[in-house]
């Protein structure tokens, strides 16, 4: 291979909040989210940098504190370092809290991975009045150390140069670090190492001493891997482990894993002796502490939190309303132009009713979503979100969840306008499979951005004076449903004890505007992409379902016209006495025949048949066949609910009619009343997640049966709830 296209693979690892993601963005220019909340990076992200004839391939591993096998993230990080054999492992550490951050670095060295240490946030170190002797640290750690300030892009060039220069000297990295674990463990480690070497037990993958350590730490992943490889050798190692564990318990009243952690931290202390010098301490964290006195205060904290959440709403609706109506007008105008310019027929109907109306309805909500995403990004990046988790943990635990469940809930739409798909993904942070499962299954109850349009529409029509309040109540209902259902699930089908909450409270940081914009754009783009692909396809599919099969004969007999008129009269559409009296009325009558005919066509279509078929049951909750069609479409993507309703009404109105907005239709239609609106809001909020979310649930829970469960359970739950509310309201209204 020529040197000009030599590829270097670099695994980027580090603690949460170490600025690893920021550094990744600075290096690769990748569009990726940067958060202050522990463990926001749950996906494998990659990026390329070209420099001096090399292609640097960066893989951004999940942020972790350690390399145990307790969470998926740690396993992902560990397995990548071991199995994918990256040319280099770059560990990004927060230089302002070196001691804890080096705990991971030491484990990487023990694993024998080729490590480069990046001391990030050097500006904070200086601000705190600390000085670091990087040369001394380099010498003691036996690896290269590079100083950076990722937020400002400082040290980027040095890091790239270091990576390139180290790449040609890979043999320097061969031997794994060996730490002494004291008189109780060292002999056992030696004995186990000998057994491991003798039998070539997993030595093709891991260093011998590391495997021995993992046995002492009772690492289930390694032990089960060992049992598969050679049950005999594994048993011998387990015997030694048990002996040592007994000894530790009897003489030291502790566990081997505790001894290991103590010695590791002891080793780190000795590494850092004379490396870190402090003057006046903690100026910056004290600022954070001062803020926390107010922001996490017993009374003021929760009050401020509610205020913040409510402000996000108000801001969204005040500012977002202007571009929203502009975009709506634009798509209305486009539909009109198409209807005027294109010849009548199926193609015109497809473009105007299938494509423009469908996608337009979805895109018109982009401005709202952008504002909400921006607010969420600000809360995450500033560090406030971690405080929200801290304040709410006691509450969440009561419902069988975890303080960290707040994140999936909020991303899913706990602050209206999220999306259940990234929300479900964010649940990967949760360490207990049970709490995670409960979170994943209940997060789709939240008011995601795709449900918002229908809520905005109905609130706009039926509660015009109290729109913000209505949406606030809807969101509260979503939370109540998610929490109560979660408690139910954790008490029945997913029972189990709570997992540790231990979490870092990062210092408050002012988010960078660039980070916020990248984040906002990334999420919005995801939404637009979804609108452009899945939703366009579904929109066309549903248009087809609503158009075919066509009525047997497009003309109609006199008898049929009479039937139509009779039907119209029966429905009370014509109230003028002596009708028809003049030519105007005759034109009007023709239009009305068209209208009823279009409606009959829709009822005749596949979608209409399905909607009609379901109507006897759904009428308990106040839904007619037209709503049924759109709700069935909503299984595919919630945005489709509103676009289907739009398509249904514009088809029904007939092509020559002026396209009036869906909200006008609903306002004028006597079938629509408050109790139906409330019932529909509840149903849309709670019924089956869209299929993208269902796929995500299957992936994150590791089983399709949970995905099927979510679809069936949520729909039954939603229908029961809607029916109860509808029937109750019927008694009073």
């Amino acid at each position: 291979m020529k040197q000009t296209d030599q590829k270097i693979t670099i695994a980027l690892t580090g603690n949460p909040n170490s600025g690893k993601t920021t550094l990744f963005n600075t290096l690769t220019g990748s569009r990726q989210h940067v958060g202050n909340y522990p463990g926001i990076t749950v996906e494998k992200k990659e990026g390329l940098v070209e420099s001096a004839g090399y292609v640097l391939h960066f893989v951004d591993l999940p942020g972790t504190y350690s390399l145990t096998a307790y969470s998926q993230e740690e396993l992902v990080a560990r397995n990548f370092m071991v199995r994918e054999n990256p040319d280099l492992v770059v560990d990004v550490v927060n230089a302002a809290s070196l001691e804890r951050n080096l705990y991971l670095a030491v484990q990487i060295l023990e694993l024998g991975a080729p490590l480069v240490l990046v001391l990030n946030m050097m500006d904070e170190v200086r601000k705190k009045g600390m000085t670091l002797d990087t040369g001394l640290l380099e010498q003691r750690m036996g690896c290269r150390v590079v100083e950076t300030v990722a937020r400002q892009g400082k040290g980027k060039k040095e890091l790239i140069d270091t990576i390139i220069s180290l790449n040609s000297r890979k043999e320097d990295f061969k031997s794994p670090l060996e730490i002494s674990y004291g008189p109780d463990l060292d002999p056992a480690l030696k004995e186990m190492e000998d057994i491991i070497r003798e039998n070539a037990f997993l030595t093709d993958i891991y260093p011998a001493r590391w495997v021995a350590l993992k046995y002492l730490e009772s690492d289930e992943e390694i032990i089960s891997e060992g049992r598969r490889k050679s049950p005999d050798t594994s048993t011998r190692l387990e015997d030694v482990t048990n002996k040592v564990a007994d000894h530790c318990l009897k003489t030291l009243k502790t566990y081997p894993e505790a001894v290991i952690a103590d010695y590791r931290y002891g080793f780190i202390s000795s590494l850092l002796k004379d490396v870190v010098t402090r003057d006046q301490q903690r100026q910056r964290i004290e600022m954070s502490d001062q803020l926390d006195k107010f922001l996490t205060h017993r009374l003021l904290g929760p009050l401020f939190m509610i205020f913040v959440l409510y402000m996000v709403y108000s801001l969204t609706f005040l500012v977002g309303d202007i571009p929203l109506s502009l975009i709506e007008d634009f798509f209305g105008w486009m539909g009109e132009v198409v209807r005027r310019t294109m010849p009548d027929g199926l193609l015109q109907s497809l473009v105007a009713s299938g494509i423009i109306d469908g996608v337009g309805a979805v895109l018109s909500f982009v401005p709202l979503l952008m504002i909400i995403f921006f607010c969420i990004a600000f809360l995450e990046d500033s560090g406030y979100m971690a405080r929200v988790a801290y304040m709410l943990d006691r509450v969440f635990r009561y419902f069988g969840l975890h303080g960290c469940s707040i994140m999936p809930f909020i991303v899913s739409g706990g602050i209206a306008g999220g999306c259940a798909v990234p929300g479900i993904m964010a649940a990967r942070t949760l360490r207990s499979p049970k709490e995670k499962l409960a979170t994943v299954l209940t997060a789709p109850f939240m008011t995601c951005g795709a449900k918002l349009p229908i809520f905005l529409l109905l609130a706009g029509v039926f509660f015009p004076a109290n729109q913000a309040l209505a949406l606030f109540l809807i969101t509260l209902l979503a939370w109540a449903s998610a929490l109560l259902v979660s408690k139910l699930l954790r008490a029945t089908i997913i029972r189990g004890a709570a997992t540790p909450f231990v979490m870092e409270l990062p210092p408050y940081r002012l988010p960078t505007l660039q980070g916020l914009l990248i984040h906002t754009w990334e999420r919005t783009w995801q939404y637009i992409k979804k609108a452009g692909t899945i939703i366009l396809a579904i929109s066309i599919l549903i248009w087809a379902a609503m158009t075919f099969p066509q009525l047997p004969d497009n003309g109609f007999s006199d008898e049929e016209i009479q039937g139509v008129i009779a039907e119209r009269d029966f429905r009370g559409l014509n109230t003028a006495p002596g009708f028809p009296a003049n030519t105007d009325d005759i034109t009007l009558e023709e239009e009305q025949i068209e209208l009823v005919l279009a409606e009959r066509q829709l009822a005749h279509s596949y979608a209409g048949r399905m909607g009609t078929f379901l109507e006897p049951v759904t009428s308990w909750a106040g839904f007619d066949w037209r709503i049924n069609i759109s709700l069935v479409g909503g299984f595919a993507a919630k945005e489709v609910i509103i676009s289907t309703l739009g398509t249904a009404y514009s088809l029904e109105a007939g092509e020559e009619d002026d396209p009036t907005s869906l909200s006008d239709h609903i306002r004028q239609d006597p079938d629509w009343d408050t109790k139906r609106a409330v019932s529909l809001i509840i149903f849309v909020l709670l019924y089956a997640p869209c299929f993208v979310a269902v796929v995500a649930i299957a992936r994150e829970s590791g089983a399709w049966r949970w995905a099927v469960f979510a679809m069936v359970f949520n729909t039954v739950f939603a229908f029961g709830f809607s029916t109860a509310v509808y029937q109750t309201l019927k008694l009073f209204i």
Binding site: T68, Y265, T296, Y390, F501, V502, E504
Partner: protein, 82 residues
């Protein structure tokens, strides 16, 4: 005069040196991974509105843990200064 008390019993703003960290399996690992090991100085900086979890200052950072997790940590405090 020094005495050893459970982390759960510490008052806000009280300081101490960690003596022992019990617990094994995942719970013990999580606590130790975050740097709660014997010899480390901790200060309780706050408690959540419902008194749980508790926020702790270690030398260079702040972390939170629940009361039932704090039960595994015993801290030596100086009776006179507190």
């Amino acid at each position: 005069m020094k005495s050893s008390i459970c982390l759960r019993m510490m008052e806000v703003n009280q300081k101490g040196i960690i003596k022992t960290v019990g617990g094994h399996g995942e719970m013990g690992r999580r606590i130790r991974d975050m740097g709660l090991v014997p010899g480390v100085e901790v200060q309780v900086v706050g408690r959540a509105p419902l008194y749980d979890p508790v926020a702790l200052r270690l030398r260079d950072f702040t972390l939170t843990l629940r009361n039932n997790e704090a039960d595994y940590v015993f801290v030596e405090i100086d009776d006179e200064t507190n």
